[in-house]
């Protein structure tokens, strides 16, 4: 079942075309990687799909229904959620309260009263392993924990599909492994559909079912992880045309 369908999405900032006629589909239960060099337009797509930015052109369908023109809180209420590239904690609140707000609001029609929301918060905190830091203020925890908290908050919202925007940026290799294990665990335990934006290739390759590559706002490739890594257009986008040509020559030489 197609859960998210994006048709010819475009966004212009003045003369700059940040997103140029991008279309893609996400099936239920999939993890789709969204990669591209800096400034390729990955976060812009997230902002457009979740309603944080108005789009210049194009349509977005969630579960077959158009969500054009809806506000971010309405889209979140339907079950389409995101994390932020630069963490956006609710300042002045504890870790627990941050997650509780996600449980109280988030997806609509869950009949979450305060008591049930608190119980659900406990569950989610346990799942991501933040129980011991639940009463810490968000200003007192480390970046990996903040990213963990953002994940917990998103889970507490009980979404059907999540845009994870560089949840591993700024983490060291050990922390990346831990985060990777967590995302995998969440996928199975929560039956999540994920659009996964990441710079750390190891993580994207490991986790994605399919990868979409963006360059200068355009979708250049959509392939399985194995094929993407050796795709000439991708190598050109990341390493330049000359390097890509050298690779081509080598490939032909090697037969």
């Amino acid at each position: 079942m197609t859960i998210l369908q994006v048709n010819s999405l475009s966004k212009k900032f003045g003369a700059l075309i940040a997103t140029d006629n991008v279309s893609f589909k996400v099936e239920k239960g999939e993890i789709v990687g969204l990669i591209g060099p800096n400034g390729a337009g990955k976060t812009t797509i997230t902002n457009l799909v979740t309603g944080a930015l108005p789009k210049t052109a194009g349509d977005v369908f969630f579960r077959g229904k158009s969500i054009n023109g809806l506000k971010p809180f309405q889209i979140a209420g339907l079950g389409l959620t995101r994390t932020f590239q630069v963490v956006q904690p609710l300042e002045g609140m504890s870790v627990e309260e941050n997650v509780l707000v996600g449980a109280l609001f988030g997806k609509k029609n869950r009949n979450h009263d305060l008591k049930r929301a608190k119980k659900f918060t406990d569950e989610v905190l346990h799942l991501v392993g933040l129980e011991e830091k639940r009463s810490y203020m968000v200003s007192d925890i480390t970046l990996p924990d903040l990213k963990r908290m953002e994940l917990a908050r998103v889970l507490a919202m009980e979404p059907e599909i999540v845009f994870l925007d560089e949840v591993m940026a700024g983490l060291n290799p050990t922390e990346v492994d831990a985060a990777l294990a967590l995302v995998k665990k969440l996928r199975f335990e929560r039956d999540l559909t994920i659009v996964y934006i990441e710079h750390i290739m190891r993580a994207v390759m490991d986790i994605s079912d399919r990868i979409i590559v963006l360059h200068h706002g355009k979708k250049i490739v959509e392939e399985s992880p194995r094929k993407v890594a050796s795709h000439p257009a991708v190598i050109e986008a990341y390493l330049g045309k000359r390097y890509a040509d050298i690779c081509k020559v080598r490939e032909t030489e090697n037969g």
Binding site: A76, G92, E97, G102, M157
Partner: protein
């Protein structure tokens, strides 16, 4: 394992409720023992308690400073005056004023609450100024800039002042309880999220516009009730007095002294600020404003989170953390 701690916590809560009840009973009985002047001082304290609660839910919890909130005080006062001059009983006039304030806050709130931070604060000052002009110029309806009178109750002064003392005390207690309940509810978490990070709040499924408008309406409602009681108490009101921006400025100083974003902050702040103001006035005569100003600066400087904030940080240090939970 935690039952012992829970019991201790319950005991503590019980003793706190008991203390609050004792103070309340003392305050209810107070008019039997004090005379006119101090009765008046206390009534003003309660009044500022209500105004500050109205500011607290907006500025302290939601992060929007409503500098023009005096307009709701004015609307409450003037609605009561005009309605009562047409023979409407007081309680009904008070409700008319509150309804008018709520309607105006929603009508203005929908466009104005799109502005964030300082822009919102400035826009509300503009609105308050505009309303003041309307009241000053609608002479045949409001009595104009000269002010207007309300019916005088035919009772001995001590008894009369006691009535208004209890009325204002009741309003302050009611407002404080209401705010406490609101802040513990789902809606309260929504409000706090807006102050914490409005964009994140929106992305988390919180209808920020709805929360902002309703919060301002709540703020307007209680501020308006205080204005109504004040008008009946004074039996004479003038536009510049009830639409005075200084009401809000005092209210904000009270918030700073007591502690922004805490339920008891405004109440505590009102007591300290008003008593301090009375003391400086009676002891330093013509220098009283300077002394009051300096003491306020000192308090804010020494207690940046207000008295309640200081008390809480002391309490936190004395309570051990176990299982990551603060008991």
């Amino acid at each position: 394992m935690s039952t012992e701690r829970d019991n201790a916590l319950l005991q503590k809560k019980k003793s706190q409720v008991l203390l609050a009840a004792l103070i309340l009973v003392a305050l209810i009985l107070l008019p039997k023992f004090i005379v006119g002047y101090w009765l008046r001082v206390f009534t003003v304290i309660f009044m500022f308690g209500v105004i500050s609660q109205g500011l607290n839910i907006m500025a302290g919890y939601m992060g929007y400073i409503p500098f023009g909130n005096a307009m709701f005080y004015g609307i409450g006062a003037y609605s009561t005056a005009v309605a009562m001059s047409h023979g409407v009983p007081f309680v009904l006039s008070m409700c008319i004023g509150a309804a008018a304030s709520v309607i105006i806050s929603v009508l203005f709130g929908l466009p104005v609450l799109r502005l964030r931070g300082h822009y919102f604060a400035i826009a509300t000052i503009g609105l308050a100024g505009a309303l003041l002009s309307v009241v000053e110029n609608a002479t045949e309806f409001t009595g104009g800039a000269m002010g207007t009178t309300l019916p005088i109750i035919d009772k001995p002064p001590q008894q009369l002042y006691s009535y208004f003392y209890w009325g204002m005390l009741g309003l302050m207690v009611g407002t404080t309880l209401a705010m406490g309940l609101i802040m513990k509810s789902k809606f309260g978490y929504g409000i706090r999220s807006i102050k914490a990070n409005e964009d994140a709040a929106n992305a988390m499924g919180i209808n920020t516009t709805y929360h902002k408008v309703v919060t301002w309406a709540i703020s307007a409602f209680f501020t308006s009730l205080a204005g109504s009681i004040y008008a009946y108490w004074m039996s004479f009101i003038a536009p510049t007095e009830v639409f005075d921006v200084m009401l809000v400025v005092n209210g904000i100083v009270i918030l700073l002294v007591g502690g922004m974003g805490s339920i008891l902050g405004p109440v505590l702040g009102a007591f300290i600020f008003e008593l301090l103001s009375e003391l400086t006035w009676s002891h330093f005569g013509e220098y009283h404003l300077a002394t009051l100003g300096i003491s306020t600066i000192l308090i804010v400087f020494l207690l940046p989170k207000g008295l309640i904030g200081k008390l809480e940080s002391l309490k936190k240090k004395s309570i051990p953390i176990q299982d990551g939970k603060i008991y």
